[in-house]
Symmetry: C2
Subunit: 340 residues, 2 copies
DNA sequence: GTGAAAGCGCTAACAA
DNA sequence: TTGTTAGCGCTTTCAC
């Protein structure tokens, strides 16, 4: 089943069928009508691979994700798919398990499949890794690498604003000693978040205490470990911010294990606002990153780059917004003495 | 950059280049060597769309998923991607938001893109919906529809075995009154699970009480609602099974709200074993469905069908396995009186 | 307004 | 062993 067959049955040439399908206008209404009839009758669907071959564009994009089972990423993947589908474009998905080799392989796959662009979520890797894509004129959009180049754009999350909102909120509640449970030690995105945290403290006129900062791994176990470490110290903060919600979940779990009540004895504020965060106990106050906005930004930058691959990419900044639930409240008076 | 260019530089014809790339063996070693040199030098990657056009096979499969942010599905998607990547095949992903229209549209997309097969996870929809795929010789593998046909296979989860394990376990702990929090009312997969539950009760010689069965929605809020309903009754069971882990999470949340201790006053057993289930409080005893096995079954059936689209599909059954954690224990003596 | 023909990049039958 | 050629299905210039 192809255009020639449709053309035959409609008594026209395949060129005319093509014109009808693409609405080129230059077809007599009655001819077009006849063709359209045959098309619906045969349920004809044109073969996109032929078009791709002709034009070099596949209307297919790739997304490379560290861990599809991490709610942050699965929510992002859902919204990114949504954005592409709306425009009749498809999404090829690659999951790297946060593994360098798989990441390399994913890039190879995208290259091989000739996608029109790649959304690359793996900020810890260096530019050289995906140079092959750029070289082959496949535009790349990264998350939070805060670098751009020819064919390379970036979507940066504005942690500065988010951390500032959270710290200000805690200070207004009366907190003076605020800790931070980070992502993986040495990971660039984690550093960015932590720096934003420190700056927010300074901006709020609060002191920064290195002892109140612990590294996690962006996942629940890491958060649990980090909070346990914090609790084992003589001195502890009255509130903590975390690198993401999973870290906060782990922290909540550790606090429960240690019999520390949340939020009375320890306020916890997450980051991301994943679906589960309003369901844990207590519902998590968190600094939301709209996955919707994120997906839209990726989509926009990819489309932009697709139109002109030779241009230098742009950077888009995504705002965060504090979502107040129940895991943070005023500090207890006695905690002031009890922990100092 | 194409084969002709490679051929030119290597001083051979494009046919020879093709032969070298596909290891046809009928090439003189030194010619092959020369060609290979040019290939690596130019970093040549053949265009898969041309091959697809020629062969009608795209080495790309589609997966249609109700809700990518549901951990069960995101874990499945991860494993399915893993299976395909291992064999150099790609996965096109479609998320339906459990919406009929999007589902229809997803099927259209797969048809249009000429994928080599579709993994369809949406058991609530009827066969007619994807007849168009079958008609166009695109094989389909469904989850838990328990029907096969030409070009249509099914992966069925053996809830019978799972429910039996769970009920036996509870009976051995001393439970006599066991309830069930189902999926959506009227949904086929939910019915299957519930029937398996009832049969398991009978097999264990335990009574079935309709009052102990409530409908949820496969998500946390539904589980919460269902458990609240159950708790509002004069008579309640000492243990409940649930249609999936999210339902169990909701149940745990409702129990906490009502001040009912788990597992002492109420044992809860989930179904799926999603990542979070060993992290909630208390860690959830659950009937595991291996996403790995599931993904492998889908992959196998799709490959099989891909080889011979005209054949009737098969059904594969996936075993479940009880994973004992801490949300189920012996019933309190007093709960016997307190609730009757 | 419509058709014929070339060409996108690859492969396989056939010829040499 | 290697090259020539036709063709996969579509679009688009160029004739008519």
């Amino acid at each position: 089943m192809n255009m020639r067959k449709v053309a035959q049955l409609a008594g026209v040439s395949s060129a005319t069928v093509s014109r009808v399908m693409n609405g080129s206008g230059l077809v007599r209404p009655d001819t077009a009508e006849k063709v359209r009839q045959v098309i619906t009758e045969l349920n004809f669907v044109p073969n996109p691979h032929a078009t791709t071959l002709k034009y070099g564009r596949s209307q297919t994009f790739g997304v490379i994700i560290p861990d599809l089972t991490n709610p942050f990423y699965s929510e992002f993947a859902r919204d990114l798919e949504g954005a592409f589908v709306e425009h009749d474009q498809e999404l090829l998905i690659a999951n790297t398990h946060s593994d360098v080799e798989r990441m390399q392989h994913s890039i190879q796959r995208m290259l091989l499949r000739r996608v029109d662009g790649v959304a690359l979520l793996a900020s810890e890797y260096e530019t050289e890794r995906f140079e092959s894509l750029i070289r082959n004129r496949i535009p790349v959009v990264t998350l939070d690498r805060r670098k751009t180049a020819k064919g390379l754009s970036d979507v940066a999350i504005d942690f500065e604003s988010g951390m500032e909102q959270a710290v200000r909120y805690l200070r207004e509640l009366g907190h003076k000693r605020i800790g931070f449970l980070g992502g993986g030690a040495g990971i660039a995105t984690s550093r960015v978040r932590q720096e934003a945290f420190v700056r927010a403290l300074r901006a709020a006129g609060l002191g920064y205490n290195e002892k109140f900062v612990k590294a996690g791994d962006y996942r629940i176990p890491g958060g649990k470990r980090a909070m346990s470490e914090l609790l084992s110290q003589r001195s502890r903060p009255t509130a903590v911010l975390t690198a993401n919600d999973l870290t906060a979940f782990g922290a909540l779990s550790a606090l429960r294990d240690h019999g520390v009540r949340v939020p009375e004895e320890m306020s916890v504020i997450g980051c991301d606002d994943i679906i589960m965060s309003d369901i844990v106990e207590p519902p998590l106050t968190t600094i939301r990153i709209s996955r919707r906005d994120l997906a839209k930004a990726f989509y926009g930058l990819l489309r932009e780059a697709d139109k002109d691959v030779t241009r230098r990419g742009r950077q888009i900044s995504i705002e965060q917004k504090l979502v107040v639930r129940q895991s943070a409240t005023r500090p207890l008076k006695r905690s002031r003495n009890g922990a100092a």
